[in-house]
Amino acid sequence: MQATICQTAVNPSLFSAEGFVGLIFLATIALIVVGALIATTSKRLVRCVAGLAVCFTGLAGAYYFLLSPFIAMMQMLIYVGAVSIIIAFAIMLATPENEDTAEIKGAGLAGPLGFSLGALFFSALTILGLKTHWQVFPRQGTGNLKQIGTDLLTRHAMVFELISIVLLMAILGAVVLARKGRD
Amino acid sequence: MNIVEQTRIALLELFPDLAAADAEARAKAEAEAAEAAEAVAPVEAEQEVTAAAATGEAETATPPPAEESAEAATPETKAAAAEKEPAAEGPRQNGVAVGDYDRHGVHLDVLCDPQQVVAAAEILDQAGFFIEAITGVDWLKEDQMEVIYDYNRNDGRLCRVVVRTRIPRAEPELPSITNVYPGANWHEREAYDFFGIRFLGHPDLTRILLPEDADFYPLLKDFTL
């Protein structure tokens, strides 16, 4: 069974299944945006991580709507359950409580630079998104384990490998942060 | 030699003149005892014992005389060492008294100078004693402060030793024995806490039971409730 986004009903009633699903979809998008905002604007690192986790959860929801429950679950398991927690853990171990944003050399430049880079990236993505002709793959049985297994080991083998690299990075980062300063 | 006698001789090291007198007395007593015992069995090596006693290394000079000879020696040695009781006539002299265990609960009662407590602790540490308690007594009338160290053994050989010293009330200072017995740390802090006795060389002489901002020493006799 898959969730379905109703593409035909133009103005569905809120109490119909389609309307309900639409609401949930909007909530998921809100989660992504709010999470991302918290993650980028909060001054406390732990809150940033919490925001990141919220953003990841929203993303998982989005994957679910994109008919990829497996990826959605993996998003939750790996990004929320492992990566966010390891980052939070590393922060807890490595930084003193309520650390003020320290004065780093050239910190004044970081804001505008980051903003412009972000804007550039964002506009590029937007243009791409608008220009691309989106193809809808009518793929059935995305929840089928065999299918996923075959896909992961054939078509998406590279992605599969990349995931392990992400995990490795997360682990390494945590270890480096946690062991910093110890002999 | 029983443990009390052994410890007594070891402790006499603190008081060289007393030790000499004591060794003499003991040699005499032993000679007498040997004479008496000769008929029964030859006693070995009194010479070594007396020599060792004179230098105060009783433990190293192992061959102990027969138990009865030590027993026989006791009255004389008691008299030789110091007076028995700290009470009665006049201030007590420094020395090692053999206590009346049944009456007072201690076997040896040492009175020494404040500077000698560390040496005493070292001797007792060598002999395998453990520190039981350190406390003070405020003798207001005599304007003195008495510091009492209780030692005991835990190897099954019964010998309680009390080491006491007197320090002026106005300036209650004496060296700390924490280097010999780390366990004395808290006891000394307690004595400081209650009496204001300052143990020189103590690593952390602060209040232990009373609040850190207390400005009184409650067990002083002029501290009234």
């Binding site: 110890r182 | 009470a87 007072h104 609960g105 406390t135 835990n154």
Partner: protein, 372 residues
Amino acid sequence: MTAPIRCREDETFVLNLGPQHPATHGVLRVKLTMDGEYVVKAEPVLGYIHRMHEKMAEDRTFAQFMPNTARMDYLHALAYNHGYVLTVERAAGIEVPERAEYIRVITVELNRLTSHLLWWAAFLLDLGGFSPLLYAFDDREQILDLLERVTGSRLTYCYFRFGGVYNDIDDDFITGTRNFIKRLRSRLPRLYHDLVTKNIILIKRLKDIGFVSKEQCRKYGATGPLLRGSGVQFDIRKNEPYSVYPEFDFDIPVYDEGDCMARYMVRMDEIEQSMRIIEQALDKLPDGPVRAKVPKILKPAAGDYYAAVEAARGSFGCRLVCNGDKSPYRLKLRSPTFSNLSLFGEVAEGMLLADALAFMGSLDLVIPEIDR
């Protein structure tokens, strides 16, 4: 044991264990400098329940001070009664009737049982096992009921008098005690040993944890089960016999390992030994008065007196300095856990927090007795 990770000063943090903490069983505070889960430094901070009993003693007559002794170690109050009474009797030269001595031994040993049972309960609580607490309390309650019958109080007894005891024991007490011992004998192997002592988790948590050497014990003046757990056979009841203890046939349990398990086993064995003593005392209990004639106001001769008893936690000593007055000139109360706890800082260094707390539990602390 894994070696502690040595770390930079700024990576440690200070953890205030207490004065209100479930594991300190009272108002002890331990300032722990921690490196993660490892204890880098442990400093016990005392005095939160300090009442200055020693000053109180100087202010009242010998008899008036009696109740105070029970308020130091509220778990083995009778031993403290006993220690104080022995000292004063020694000072005043009072002879105690034999029956009274037997009653003293019986009640002190019963009280020792309550103390050990409560220690067992609290120790298991420290290790996270809650149920044993109630099993032990179940048994302890029986003893408290028995003791309440003869002493009139349940915890802070003031039962001993100079020259005897306050109250004679009756047949109900004797049969009650016999029944209780039968009951505890049947419960010990099942509820205590099968369920707890042989539990693999308990063994893993106690074996090789909190090693205290003989030498450390000597340097710190440790006594009681802590010392016996380190392989030293030292018990005032045997080594420096007082009262009628020489009459009884009992053993001093000694374990050489010096770890928490050894201390645990020492106490568990002591429970059995105490039961043996009580049984023998009940069998041999002579008839006669329970109290000698003693003047109301005692004025012992001037001098210095010392007596010690074996309390549940170690040797409790009283040093009494008299000047011929009706109240002590100075009374020093040597409490065993004060010395035992002073060792904590050194031993706990480098331990895991959980192990340090297991070690603390194995010391059997009673804070009012440390703080006096």
